[in-house]
């Protein structure tokens, strides 16, 4: 299958209490902790998906960043629907794993929460996004020590060039202790930014 040079159509970052779409700051609140910040961002960005509040922090991060990029696509019937997801991070679902562990560590007070347990896998986030945007596409969640632009580049290119996907939403979402960051970008046949390892690193480090 012949495919023209792939592009990065758009990208979104959430870090340091800021939400960026491409180079534009679309929300900022420096007065709050992560929990309040992400809730305020959800409201400000008209996300309108009550199940958001049931998600763990990692899913909230990925869901919100994905929603900013995919919402215009989802509402446009002309747009491709076969959008694969290729996410990555270094902490997996560690923050939620710790919460679950805390709920089962005391045998005299052993009440594991089903609502917490269901998020003890990082790829649950991909399921939340797929449900929201009605995606029946390939999805993968990789664990790396650091952001691995080369791997994501190869993976997205392969998915599109072999016809497994029309577009690929790629990136890095990480949540551990007090740290969090999300960086997602949409690989497509359309767009103005070249899809190559150097550009991906440039966009990731620009935030």
């Amino acid at each position: 299958m012949k495919v023209e040079q792939l592009k990065i159509k758009e990208y979104c970052s959430i870090f340091n209490n800021k939400v960026m779409l491409n180079e534009q700051l679309i929300f900022e609140n420096q007065e709050t902790d992560f929990s309040s910040f992400i809730k305020l961002a959800y409201k400000k960005l008209d996300t309108n998906y009550p199940k958001f509040f049931k998600m763990d922090d990692l899913s909230k991060l990925g869901f919100l960043a994905a929603d900013i990029l995919l919402k215009p696509i989802s509402s446009d019937s002309e747009r491709p629907k076969n959008i694969a997801l290729a996410f990555s991070n270094s902490a997996s679902s560690l923050e939620t794993d710790r919460k679950h562990q805390n709920s089962i560590v005391d045998k005299e007070n052993y009440f594991p929460s089903p609502a917490i347990f269901v998020y003890t896998l990082p790829n649950i986030c991909l399921g939340e996004i797929s449900i929201r945007h009605k995606l029946y596409s390939e999805n993968s969640f990789f664990i790396f020590n650091h952001f691995n632009a080369g791997y994501l580049y190869d993976y997205a290119t392969c998915l599109i060039k072999t016809g497994k996907a029309d577009e690929v939403l790629c990136g890095w979402i990480n949540r551990d202790a007090d740290d969090y960051e999300a960086f997602l970008y949409l690989v497509s046949t359309e767009g103005s930014i070249a899809h190559n390892k150097e550009e991906i690193i440039k966009l990731y480090t620009r935030k």
Binding site: K54, P112, A115
Partner: protein, 85 residues
């Protein structure tokens, strides 16, 4: 009984993270699942844990929950009859 109903509404909103719902929006006879509050299967499991943890009620058959969690009214009646703490 009315105190218990109020307590259950508060617990459901807090523990099930129903961010957009206020206590006074939940009527005693509203369905908790389906077209009512729209709770899902994970919420049902969470309610089973809540009965055990807060009221000392162990449901041996999760299918029992379908009847018990029909509404706040039904839940409050069940808890009043079976609670051990």
């Amino acid at each position: 009984m009315s105190d218990l109903k109020q307590e259950l509404k508060e617990k459901i909103i807090t523990q099930l993270n129903l961010e957009d719902i206020a206590i006074d929006e939940i009527a005693d006879n509203d369905s908790l699942f389906g077209d009512g509050l729209g709770l899902d299967s994970i919420d049902a499991l969470e309610l089973i844990v809540m009965l055990d943890k807060d009221y000392g009620i162990k449901l041996t058959d999760p299918k029992e929950g379908k009847k018990i969690f029909e509404s706040i009214e039904v839940m409050a009646n069940y808890i009043t009859k079976h609670r051990t703490k």
